[in-house]
Symmetry: C6
Subunit: 78 residues, 6 copies
C-alpha cells in the first residue's frame, strides 16, 4: 500500500453537501491511488473508463456508496 493520504484533511466533516460530494469523489480516487501508485498507469486507466459507459456507471456507484457515509457523518447537513 503506497504512502497516500486517504482522507484529505483527516475528517469526514464538511461545511456543505457540495463539499461532501467532492470529498466522496476524492475518497474513491485515493483508494485507487493507494492501490495503483503509478500516475501514468492511473491516467491510462482513466482514459479507458471515462469513455466506457458501463465503467462510468460503476464509478458512479462507488461515489454514491462513499457519499452515503460522508452524508451520515455530517447528519445530512441539516
Amino acid at each position: 500500500m503506497a504512502d497516500v493520504e486517504l482522507v484529505p484533511g483527516g475528517s469526514l466533516k464538511t461545511a456543505t453537501a457540495e463539499e461532501g460530494r467532492a470529498l466522496a469523489i476524492k475518497l474513491a480516487r485515493l483508494i485507487i491511488k493507494t492501490t495503483q501508485p503509478d500516475a501514468d498507469e492511473r491516467t491510462r486507466q482513466r482514459d479507458i473508463y471515462s469513455t466506457d459507459p458501463a465503467m462510468m456507471i460503476a464509478m458512479g456507484q462507488t461515489v454514491a456508496i462513499e457519499f452515503a457515509t460522508v452524508a451520515a457523518a455530517n447528519n445530512y447537513w441539516l
Copy 2:
C-alpha cells in the same frame, strides 16, 4: 475534476419524495459530468447505455443508492 455543481441547490432537502427521486437522478448524473466534462462524449455514452439493458439496470442501482441517502436526509418525508 471539472468545475461542476455537484448538489443542485446545495442541499439534500426536498419538499417531496418525487423531488427526492429527481435529485437522486441528478446527483448520479453530475458525478458522470464532473468525471467526463465533454458533453458530446456523454451523449455518445448515453446512446450506448440507454439501449443496453445490463447498463440500464446498473444505472438504476446507482440511483437507488443515491436515493437511499436523499431519503434518509429527508426523514423519508414523513
Copy 3:
C-alpha cells in the same frame, strides 16, 4: 429526463410489506422509464433481460436496494 411520475402516489408509505415490495419494483422501473422514454425500446430490453440470468440477478439487487429505503420509511411495518 422524460416527464414521468417517479413516486406513484407521491409517498414511500405503504399499508403493508407486500405493497412495499410492489412499490420498490415500481420505483426501479420508473427510473428506467425516465431514462429510456421509448416504450418499444423498453419492451425490447425487457425481452433481453428477462431471459438472461445475470441481468435478472442484477435487477433483483436493484429492487433489494430500493426496498431497503421503502422498508425504513415504513419502520418495517412493525
Copy 4:
C-alpha cells in the same frame, strides 16, 4: 408484473435469524418470479446461474442486501 405474493406471510418478522435468512432468499426469488412468470424459463436460468460462479456470487450479494433489511426489521433478533 405477474400476480405473485411478494412477501410470504405478509411480514418481515421472523422468529429466528435462521428463518430471516430463509425469508431473504424467498424475497429475492419472488422478485425473479414476478419479473419472469414462466416457470420453465426460470428453471432454465437456474441451471445456468447455479453452475456459474460469477452469477452465484452476484446472487449471494442480492440475498445479503435483502437480509440486511430483514435483520433490521427484526432488530437483529436480540
Copy 5:
C-alpha cells in the same frame, strides 16, 4: 432449497469482531451451499473464482455486505 443450516449457531451475535468476520464469510458460503447443494460442483466453482480476480473482488463485496449486518447486530463490539 437444500436443507442447510443458514445461520451457524442460530444467532448473529459473536464475542468479537474477528468472529463476526468469520460469521460473515460463513453466511455468504451457506447461501451458495443452499443454492448449489452439490459439493463437487461447489469445489469446481471455487477453483474458478479463487483464481479470477474479478470474481474474488465480487466475493469480497458480498462478505462486506454480510459483515455490515453482523456488525450492526453486535453494536460494533463496542
Copy 6:
C-alpha cells in the same frame, strides 16, 4: 478457510478517519487472503486487477462498503 487474522488488532475502533480507511482496505484484503491463501497467486491476481480499470472500480466499491461499517463503528470520528 485459511488461518488468517481477519480483523487486525481485533477491533473496528481506530483513532482517526485516516486509520479507518486503512483498516477498511486491510479488511477487504484479508478476506481475499483467507479465500486464496497462496501468496504467489494473490500477487498474480493483483498484477491483473491493478491494471484493469473495471476491476479497480469494483475494488473501490468493496473498500467503500467496508468503510461504511468501520465509520459507523467509530461514530464517524465526531
